[in-house]
Amino acid sequence: MNLRRDVFQAIADPTRRAILLLVASQTMTAGAIASNFDTARPTVSKHIQILTECELLRQEQSGREIYYHLNPNKMKEIANFIEPFRKMWDDRFNKLEAVMRNYKPKK
């Protein structure tokens, strides 16, 4: 499930973006997060799980409760909106390099 660990894919979903906004203001339990949504609790849990897997959320055990808080370092990756543009060109240039390495001039 590598797909899930990409931060940009993680924030593609509006519910997950809403969760991040919620948790940005205070650390919250899964239950407290879910109470903010009309969506079924297991669905919200899955969103939280995905956000945790891609390290946008961090878990913290406090007594019997697990609290979630935002991982600011990972959020920085998103805040830098140049990254997808850079990635696009990097992919293209990698391909260019590969194409030209195999290039045989027409004689």
Binding site: L3, K46, I82, P84, D90, R92, F93
Partner: protein, 160 residues
């Protein structure tokens, strides 16, 4: 993983610079920008096939390119004119996306020999305004996001 490509886009400026070093002689790096069949190859990706509808690689020449998705639907078309086309050194060209409100951009591509087998490309792009530059920077994000969103929906529906 560290990306080899660097993008410098200072706040409040209507330009940006893309730099990249290649494990290729400068002649091959230039050729990759000068032959339409080669451009098509490296500009294509699993989601979009690039095609050069017109390509006159010379001063005052022009080009038109288009991208189609897996269903052969045209996702974008762009065109421009070459102002300079100096082998292994420089390409100056304009670029305009058709049917998109992003105006014309001026692109200055500098090709530099580093060693016999390595080279560097510096692309300086100037946009009509700061707002348009920022818009362009965000553009590749949008289709990637919706694609990721579709994939995610697919996965989520299987998990139910």
């Amino acid at each position: 993983m560290e990306l080899k490509t660097k993008v410098i886009a200072e706040d409040g400026k209507q330009e940006l610079t893309i730099t990249r070093e290649f494990d290729l002689p400068v002649e091959l790096l230039f050729k990759a920008h000068a032959e339409p069949e080669l451009i098509e190859q490296w500009m294509s990706n699993p989601y979009a096939t690039s095609k050069m509808l017109k390509f006159e690689g010379k001063k005052h020449g022009s080009y038109q390119q288009q991208s189609t998705d897996a269903n052969r639907k045209v996702v974008f078309r762009a065109n421009g004119t070459f102002h300079d086309f100096i082998p292994n050194k420089k390409i100056t060209r304009t670029f305009e996306m058709e049917n998109a409100p992003l105006g014309v951009q001026l692109e200055l591509l500098n090709f530099e020999k580093l060693t016999d087998n390595t080279s560097k490309l510096t692309t300086h792009v100037i946009y009509e305004s700061v707002a348009i530059r920022d818009q362009v920077l965000k553009t590749p994000f949008a289709p990637g996001l919706s694609m990721a969103h579709d994939r995610m929906q697919e996965i989520m529906s299987k998990l139910k």
